[in-house]
Amino acid sequence: MSDTPTHDGPTKGPNRRAFLRGAAATGVGLAATAKATAQDTPDPLITEMQDWASSTGEGVDASPYGMPIQFEGDVVRRNVPWLTADVISSINFTPIHALDGTITPQGCAFERHHSGAIELKKEDYRLMINGLVDRPLVFSYADLERFPRENRTYFLECAANTGMEWAGAQLNGSQFTHGMIHNMEYSGISLRTLLEEAGLDAAGDLADKWVYVEGADASSNGRSIPMEKALDDVLVAFKANGEALRMEHGYPVRLVVPGWEGNMWVKWLRRIEVTDHPIESREETSKYTDTLADGTSRKWTWIMDAKSVVTSPSPQMPITHGKGPLVITGLAWSGRGAISGVDVSIDGGKTWQKARLAKEGEKMALTRFYLDINWDGSEMFLQSRAHDDTGYVQPTKAQLREVRGENSVYHNNCIQTWWVKENGESENVEVSS
């Protein structure tokens, strides 16, 4: 235990203690560090009989629908109370800092609703297709189950993800800066199949047609989607990661709009109308439009650009082991296609090196990256930069601001910087370009 120079010194930063509590609770205390060879006295966890090695544990039915073990109790969604007036119309954040791999467990995948998450049972569920179709139809949930089914893995990102960082580094933790994202394997029906069932001959030339999709909750949130996208890869989904959708994600049926902003992924989907015009609903005029520096605003900015973030080390994930081998990891994604590579900088963008992708990037799905380094214990300015297979490269915040100013709110896909201190703690910062 002698070789721990990086953890002496006073600790600073207002949130440090709170974030470290999580780490300490899992048994990775700050002092439990140093070299593998530095154990002077026998470890009682090895030399003494432990309860779990002697008495029996839980039976098979202790948790009929399993929950995470209590020691992972800090891995939860969290809200930022000052963001909205009321939790009923609000958002919480996926604890991406504490996860690995790419699939987000539904139980900690971020939520956003406009009039609260509703309880709508399958038996009471109806889906209507109307408008410019040959035959307006109503489907029950059981009807939907009889259509040919697809399985696809996609990320869902809120257009406002990282939106609080436009004017400056604001929130300390990747959960808060980048946690309005999740990635699931969806099972459902191609929207194209359902539209074909209703018949599109009545719609005539499809090139200028739209579908308007709307939910069954009290907001009946609705969005207009151009027909090209509707017929391309949109899904009407009822399962995610193999299990039924969770209430907060639109049980029993939601829309999946790959690569496009999360607000369009209408939950509790109840109606699909084929129209010859966009509806210009509240969500597509007053929200989800991006104001530029000169006061004009972009509309129909549906596609989520390539983006990445280092999830560990990061403000909520301090380095607790001192210098030596260190796994730098994070997530990358692109709404325009597949991630083709991720660069990582440990010096604030002076130099970049190629990270290792856990597996080949998939279209419009999260990709996990790793950079395994030998940390010398000195401070780092950690950044990651995503590339997608269209040749797009994730920009710096300065590059984005040059085009858009600071008032866009949405679609902030800038390169993120974590200032990793010598004591292993990190802080969200911006650095000079």
Partner: protein
């Protein structure tokens, strides 16, 4: 439409699919939607007024309806309360550092207001207003933005005559021209990309990150759920307790859970030292107090009547009210739908006791 179509269509396969739809054979699933069913759900209003119902509403009527249904969150003059949306003002601020985006300053189509109010408002009682009331509220919002005079009457006939100030303020997504040509592989630097790295902004200085609270609450919550699943028989007494609550000894743990649930109430109700009436009255000392116990709060008639009849907020009455406010006092101004879980109701009441002490 034609402006963005070429950019959107990425593959020749997709173009082919649009030009010659070779649709699959139908499966014959589902049933034909009846006209009444379509009419019940097909409420969207298009930007050219497509779908507008027949009807009308005046600014004058709108002022009253707005005051009753909307002002608790949006302010009497649509100026907004707390973090709730401001619906008026902000004219000429869109190029400012912090633009104020309202119906008057930002929204390009009036149809959006009608569609949204009828679809989603008022919060907690959506889709309950008449078409004429929605016209009146829309007219009042226009008036609050100085876009019409106080004698204006909005109808389906004159709807499209209203000019929205920022109607021309939007362009279709131009990232393909402005960004995709710059943010490219060709411009990605790997060595000697910059001379120095200076910290220019720090989140820690702002200090607005929420402190970790979920970490402590969650481990306690998990065993409770397991216990419920394990022993459904033991769960039954909880329901009985709700049906006939007694003034039991104060339970600090339960109150702590209640404080979390109370976040749902905080938008409208303050408690504790220095609490002030907001949209709803302060709730200090409410448990055991007469209904409508705060003197300077303007309660709905239903609640003042109950007050006059000597009704008291005992735990049973509070539990009943919290489960479904409008089921107890039909005209309460409280738009909250109610707490679904008995556990949450008990916890909130326990918390309210703690702020009563």
């Amino acid at each position: 439409m034609s402006k963005f179509l070429p950019k959107l269509i990425a593959s020749t396969a997709l173009i082919a699919s649009l030009a010659t739809p070779s649709f699959a054979e139908k499966l014959g699933l589902g049933r034909v939607a009846l006209p009444d069913e379509i009419a019940a759900w097909n409420h969207d209003i298009g930007p050219q007024g497509q779908g507008l119902p027949m009807g009308s509403g005046s600014v004058e009527d709108g002022e009253m309806i707005f005051s009753e249904n909307c002002a608790s969150c949006h302010g009497e003059f649509a100026e907004g309360v707390d973090n709730w949306p401001k619906l008026a003002g902000g004219d000429g601020t869109l190029a400012d550092k912090d633009p104020l985006k309202t119906v008057g300053s930002y929204w390009p189509y009036l149809s959006t207001v009608y569609d949204y109010v009828r679809r989603s408002m008022p919060f907690g009682a959506a889709q309950t207003m008449s078409d004429d009331d929605v016209y009146a509220i829309t007219a009042y919002i226009l008036y609050s933005n100085y876009l019409v005079d106080d004698d204006f009457v909005l109808t389906n006939e004159n709807f499209m005559d209203v000019e929205m100030p920022n109607a021309d303020g939007f362009i279709i997504d131009d990232r393909p021209e402005t960004e995709l040509t710059i943010f490219t592989e060709a411009n990605a630097c790997y060595e000697n990309c910059k001379e120095t790295v200076e910290v220019t902004k720090r989140a820690a200085v702002l200090d607005v990150t929420p402190q970790e609270e979920g970490a402590e609450a969650e481990p306690e919550a998990a065993p409770v759920e397991q216990a419920a699943a394990d022993a459904p028989v033991e769960a039954a007494p909880v329901e009985e307790a709700v049906a006939a609550p007694v003034m039991a000894a104060f339970d600090a743990d339960l109150a702590a859970q209640g404080e979390t649930v109370f976040k749902k109430c905080k938008a409208c109700h303050q408690v504790g030292e220095g609490a002030k009436n907001k949209v709803g009255p302060i709730l200090n000392g409410v448990v055991g107090a007469p209904v409508a116990h705060i003197e300077d709060f303007k309660y709905s008639k239903d609640l003042t009547t109950a007050h006059d009849e000597g009704v008291v907020w005992d735990e049973a009455h509070l539990a009943e009210f919290l489960a479904k406010p409008k089921g107890v006092y039909k005209k309460t101004k409280m738009s909250f739908a109610g707490l679904k879980k008995d556990d949450d109701i008990n916890a909130v009441i326990e918390y309210l006791k703690s702020v009563s002490q």
